[in-house]
């Protein structure tokens, strides 16, 4: 492990790592030069990059404490206890966290896997959070929302003077009178529009989406990709059906996890296999998974820590 590089190089590597996330041409070129200058630079950079990637799956589970909030121990205590006791076991009750800094009016809403929650921001604007979702709202600004991770369906009352703006990572979705669905996980943003129109990242790199269109943004390296989506499929999870037109099984597994509140993964060998069809959730919870296997053309097995989809026919008896 490249841990013997000296602290000064490590400190520089950390600075680069921080700058590169929103880095411009000059930053990247200067970084390439620094990297090539000395082998130890590359080792130090690799270490910090790997550290940062490694905390990815843990970040949704950490609690960011903020001092002014320490008085409100009842809610917080429960939240923390829940997290450490069962976050990985997917049994956290929903928690609303208040935090007073920097914007005292902001608050978090977090749903557990399998849970749904509706937040009304004003008379005409309503956000439905799917399971395993983390969002931030602002009591003083009903036109603001931020989706840290997970999935939510938005029904937004349009106001030309004051458009609704959703922050998703470093991106912005601005509505123009709309029903739209947004998923944010592992650095990927997916937006689908059922009604009206939205503008993704208004400004020089704006992408506008009409009803029946969706986009995928995989972050810095790839460009936003726009494709068509059946309107009835947008946010259909809310009514218990999941509609797919060629989505990889890894995504189907992810969405089933969110909807059913159990951990479901697709084995790597079939993770990219496309699925076409509609899954109607019948309310029987995880029990339905076994029956879904044939529809998905996979075998679904229960394991100690969740469910796994494997190639059909590979199941243990």
């Amino acid at each position: 492990m490249p841990y013997d590089v000296d602290d000064n190089i490590c400190a520089r590597a950390i600075e680069w790592h921080i700058r590169l996330r929103d880095g411009d041409d000059a930053t990247w070129e200067a970084f390439a030069e620094w990297l090539a200058a000395n082998e130890r630079h590359a080792e130090a950079y690799e270490a910090i990059e790997a550290d940062d990637l490694a905390i990815d799956p843990l970040l949704p589970l950490v609690v960011i404490r903020e001092a002014a909030n320490d008085q409100d121990t009842p809610a917080r205590g429960r939240w923390r206890g829940g997290l450490f006791g069962g976050a990985i076991a997917a049994s956290v009750a929903a928690a609303v966290l208040l935090f007073s800094s920097p914007a005292p009016s902001r608050y978090h809403v977090v749903t557990a896997p399998g849970e749904r929650r509706v937040v009304a921001l004003d008379a005409a604007t309503e956000v439905t959070l799917n399971g395993a979702t983390r969002m931030t709202f602002d009591r003083k600004d009903p036109r603001f929302a931020s989706l840290a991770s997970g999935e939510a369906l938005f029904r937004v009352g349009h106001d030309v003077q004051n458009p609704f703006r959703l922050q998703v990572g470093g991106n912005v979705v601005e509505d123009a009178g709309t029903v739209f669905n947004v998923v944010h996980e592992r650095g990927e943003v997916r937006v689908a529009v059922a009604e009206g129109k939205i503008v993704y990242n208004p400004g020089a790199r704006a992408v506008s989406l009409d009803a029946g269109q969706s986009l995928v943004d995989r972050g810095g390296a790839t460009r936003v990709k726009v494709s068509d989506v059946p309107i009835t499929a947008v946010g259909s999870w809310k009514s218990g059906s999941l509609v797919y037109a060629g989505a990889p099984l890894s995504r189907v597994a992810e969405e089933l996890s969110r909807a059913l509140g159990v951990r479901i993964t697709a084995a790597p060998s079939i993770a990219d296999q496309p699925f076409f069809g509609t899954i109607i959730l019948d309310g029987s919870g995880a029990g339905q998974l076994r029956r879904l296997g044939s529809a998905l053309n996979v075998s679904v097995e229960e394991r100690a820590d969740g469910w796994i989809m494997r190639p059909a026919g590979s199941a243990a008896p």
Binding site: D22, T27, A36, I64, G220
Partner: protein, 188 residues
């Protein structure tokens, strides 16, 4: 050109990207493969005009490098695991995260939580906004009324604490595999 000249810029930048990949530790063959993948992807995808096109190409190259490494690691691991278990059917590998992996995840979560708790409050909040909420540094700086370089210092403090904690954790348990299990498994 519909791609705003991105493909031709890629052609121009290719030698620099190749150097970049090799500086990152890719072999010449590996670097060529990665650039070839990127080229194919650019031709296949509909890519709109990009501001900061060189930054875009570098970051795309870096991401492909990471994906490439991850796939290679996974392959190695599968082979290793296969030779270890030596009893499955048809070379099939048990994909199930073990109880041990689960314990490691919990332990790592507790360590990460402690590290973040020990940070000065302002650093912690800036770290959340940058890393968890994904806000750009400039916006954080504007809203907090401080300079971008001050934001950077807070973030550096948070990352230093995280890398130190992981280093200590590794040293305590040299035999343990990381939660991701994918790091530094390749020869440099």
């Amino acid at each position: 050109m519909s791609d705003g000249g991105l493909v031709s810029l890629f052609g121009e930048l290719r030698p620099a990207l190749l150097r970049y990949l090799m500086a990152r530790g890719a072999s010449a063959d590996e670097a060529e493969d990665i650039l070839q993948d990127i080229h194919m992807k650019m031709l296949a995808d509909h890519i709109g005009p990009v501001s900061q096109a060189r930054a875009y190409l570098y970051s795309m190259t870096n991401n492909h490098f990471l994906m490439h490494r991850r796939t290679a690691d996974r392959r190695t691991r599968r082979e290793e695991d296969w030779s270890e278990i030596n009893g499955g059917r048809d070379g099939e590998v048990d994909e199930r995260p073990s109880v041990e992996t689960e314990l490691i995840a919990r332990e790592q979560l507790a360590i990460l939580q402690r590290v973040l708790d020990e940070l000065p409050e302002r650093s912690r909040i800036i770290f959340r906004r940058f890393r968890i909420d994904g806000e750009p540094q400039r916006r954080i700086a504007e809203e907090l009324g401080i300079s971008v370089s001050a934001v950077e210092k807070h973030l550096a403090r948070a990352y230093e604490a995280i890398t130190l904690a992981r280093r200590r954790w590794d040293e305590d348990r040299p035999d343990r595999r990381h939660l991701t299990g994918e790091r530094n498994r390749h020869a440099i």
